[in-house]
């Protein structure tokens, strides 16, 4: 692509030519990522809306379903994600300070945490599959305990709605994690190649923003799905 006749001062190869200067490029990228995260909030918001309505209507089934998912694994996953956000934040700082090796290490640890999260989630899903709690034709939640204050049996159909939302919400979240890990693989590669420096680390910063967002979604999902009613049953 031919150089613009508008000459600018010396700049690195990462300055795209339609931008006037590096600061404009950085600002644009940052604003772009924040706006994208706003769209993600609206995206997840639709599901949260459905969740809130059905939880209000079918509280007992939601409580029973919530009790049946593994709170230990869920808590571990929450800790994993929070730690990964820490490594991301430290990584951005490392980039700011020009510490390439540290940055690469932190990015790799983040990826490992992400994979650990997905692995644990896979185990949880498998548990649900074994227990026939996966919505569909083989769904059977008659093994769920109901709390003493609830009346009558658990309505299987309402229970299925809880698990439909459980899989939809955690599934879409996991998809976003996978995308995030993919992004971080690229970031790690370019970081290792030395592309990022205190003058230019925008991709790390906005990649980090995305990762934090995915983390925050989980921080909402965890209490909503796992912690509806953990009072001891007896």
């Amino acid at each position: 692509m031919s150089d613009s006749p508008i000459t600018v001062e010396e700049h690195g190869p990462e300055l795209r030519h339609h931008f006037v200067d590096a600061e404009q490029q950085r600002d644009a990228a940052s604003l772009g990522m924040w706006l994208f995260l706003a769209t993600e909030i609206m995206f997840f918001g639709g599901m949260f809306c459905a969740y809130l309505i059905y939880r209000y209507w079918y509280y007992n089934e939601f409580a029973a379903g919530s009790r049946s998912i593994d709170i230990y694994l869920g808590t571990i996953n929450t800790a994993v994600l929070i730690c990964s956000s820490l490594t991301v934040a430290l990584g951005v700082r490392a980039a700011q300070m020009g510490k390439r090796k540290l940055l690469v290490t932190l990015l790799l640890i983040t990826i490992v945490f992400g994979l650990a999260f997905l692995g644990i989630k896979g185990v949880e899903w498998y548990q649900k599959f074994e227990e026939h709690h996966v919505p569909g034709n083989s769904f059977n939640a008659s093994d769920l305990e109901r709390p003493p204050y609830s009346h009558g049996e658990i309505d299987q159909r309402h229970e299925q709605i809880y698990f439909s939302l459980y899989f939809a919400m955690t599934g879409l979240h996991a998809l976003h994690m996978i995308i995030g890990i993919g992004i971080f693989v690229f970031l790690t590669y370019y970081a290792w190649k030395g592309r990022y420096s205190p003058k230019y680390y925008t991709p790390v910063e906005i990649g980090g923003l995305y990762w934090h967002f995915v983390d925050i979604v989980w921080i909402y999902l965890f209490p909503l799905l796992y912690l509806i009613d953990r009072k001891p049953l007896r």
Partner: protein
């Protein structure tokens, strides 16, 4: 795209590089705009073809042309194609893409590669939808109401849902690009209050695209999941709520209509200003009304559900709010009209479309007042009255805005003039054909003819015949520009930089512009619409 012969050999974005790769891998916003132009024109004719079949079927009360199931697919796909693959992208992806950087003095959009990605997402979505059409189509109505779409329809609902889901992301990314561009890439001196009103309206549109489309995405995804994995979220026999679907669906689909009309209002402001040679009356109010429409547009969705089974009190609230959102649109119409006072008006093709727009949008908007009115809506909901209302806005408003804009900026886009005589003829045909097609439908609706009816009682026939007659005239009016725009690319008169004598940065560069838009970075020291300083050119006809 075939090579375009340009007599004057100035280097511009069209002749800078040749070959299919230079088009399919371009990141130049102007070339991407043309890629969109070609694709949406294709879908316009697909949707238009379905419409023609619908109107032919409705010539007689009994179903003679196609089977009931086929008819149901025709109106469903007409709606989905026209809305998601034509109207929503049209002005933003063609005119917006082309003009936004030019108008603010930038070299490109903020994210050119994401812009190309937007187009590819659109193409992927479109391909999937075409596949859906040829493998059986979808018959849920464009609105996908549950439980019909999730548990009863035997058509390719999942495929259509996935296709529109992907198209939604194309729309979101375009909106994102525009918002960042307007915030961060304005030329020095281009303050917010010096922005053309086109930019204000495109900005408001982009906000809606950003915040509304994701809700459609998740809603369609849930419908797809429900159908594919047999969930029960919207199925009442399994504890789900069909009304939940409607709320989620309309939460996007109402703001969506503002995505479709705001850009046409954007064009209207520019065209009226140029061909009255005046700054738009009440610039601040027009700019703010765009933002107001975007905001209030998110608050009125359940006016599509007055008879759906919502509570009386919800209905009251949504009705009041719907009247609120009508006010900014009315303000715009008054301001455009006031601009004509003591102007110097010429009747070029774009201006004819602009006149048509004001008239038809006013009628469409006024009939919106009928629908927002609870007592009336009970009677006319889901009848041809609603169909007439939204076609007055979408076709009489948005499509005329789109065509007017295409004609206005054609010299800038192609470096050629279209033939003015043919342009005016087509505009008049469109106006006449449109009114004959859709005005009878108001009467049909109040009479009680429901929408989505393959067959109907005989007393509705005369009005249906009139409507079909009108649609044939309308079709001719649409084909003409296709023909003469293509013709003009080879044989049209060569355009100079500013054939209309229009204000705006886009007219300060060559026609067509160079790849990086401006030879020198502009610095803006004047207000928008400085028509007192710009002489009227020879191109614009002078009345005796």
């Amino acid at each position: 795209m075939a090579t375009v012969a340009i007599a004057a050999e100035r280097e511009n974005y069209l002749n800078q590089e040749y070959g299919i790769r230079s088009w399919l891998l371009t990141t130049d916003h102007k070339r991407i705009a043309l890629l969109y132009l070609a694709s949406i024109t294709f879908f316009f004719f697909v949707g238009g073809f379905f419409a023609l079949l619908i109107r032919l079927e409705l010539l007689t009360p009994a179903g003679h042309l196609v089977q009931a199931d086929t008819y149901n697919k025709l109106f469903s796909m007409h709606g989905q194609v026209m809305i998601f693959f034509f109207l929503i992208p049209s002005i933003p992806a063609v005119l917006g893409n082309f003009l936004v950087p030019l108008m603010i003095g930038a070299k490109d959009l903020a994210f050119p590669r994401i812009n190309l990605l937007s187009w590819y997402l659109y193409i992927i979505a479109g391909t999937i939808y075409v596949h859906c059409i040829v493998t059986g189509g979808v018959d849920t109505g464009w609105t996908f109401y549950t439980p019909f779409s999730t548990a009863f329809s035997n058509t390719r609902v999942i495929e259509a849902g996935i296709s529109i889901f992907i198209a939604g992301f194309s729309s979101i990314l375009t909106g994102l690009n525009f918002v960042v561009t307007v915030h961060r890439m304005r030329a020095p001196g281009m303050t917010w209050s010096r922005l053309p009103l086109f930019i204000w309206a495109m900005y408001a549109t982009s906000i809606i695209q950003l915040l509304g489309t994701p809700v459609l995405a998740i809603t369609l995804l849930l419908v797809v999941f429900e159908r594919a994995f047999n969930l029960g979220i919207f199925d009442p026999t399994r504890g789900g709520d069909p009304l939940l679907f409607q709320h989620l669906f309309w939460f996007y689909s109402h703001p969506a209509v503002y995505i479709m009309i705001l850009p046409a209002m954007a064009v209207e402001s520019e065209v009226v200003a140029c061909f009255t040679r005046k700054r738009i009356f009440g610039y601040n109010f027009v700019a703010m009304s765009s933002i107001a429409i975007a905001v209030f547009g998110f608050l009125v969705w359940a006016h599509h559900m007055f008879v759906a089974g919502i509570s009386l009190y919800s209905a009251l609230i949504f009705s009041i709010l719907s009247y609120l959102v009508a006010v900014p649109s009315a303000i715009k119409v008054f301001n455009w009209t006031a601009t004509m006072y003591k102007g110097s008006i010429s009747f070029t093709t774009p201006m004819l479309y602009a006149f048509g727009f004001i008239g038809l949008f006013t009628m469409g908007g006024l009939t919106g007042l009928f629908l927002a009115c609870l007592g009336i809506d009970v009677h006319v909901h889901d009848t041809y009255f609603v169909i007439a209302h939204f076609h007055y806005i979408m076709v009489g408003g948005a499509v005329m805005g789109y065509l007017g804009g295409l004609h206005f900026w054609w010299p800038k886009i192609s470096g050629r003039m279209y033939p003015e005589g043919w342009g005016r003829l087509a505009a008049l045909l469109v106006f006449a054909g449109f009114n004959l097609t859709f005005f009878p439908q108001f009467i049909l609706g109040y009479m009680g003819m429901p929408r989505r009816y393959w067959q109907y009682p005989p007393e509705f026939q005369v009005l249906n015949v009139l409507s079909t007659a009108g649609s044939t005239i309308l079709a001719v009016g649409y084909v003409l520009p296709m023909v003469y725009f293509l013709w003009s690319m080879r044989y049209g008169k060569i355009a100079n930089d500013n054939p209309w004598g229009a204000a705006g940065l886009e007219w300060k560069t060559s026609s067509p512009p160079p790849t990086f838009n401006f030879k020198e970075a502009p610095e803006v020291t004047w207000e928008a619409y400085n028509y007192d300083e710009i002489p009227a050119p020879a191109e614009v006809p002078v009345e005796r």
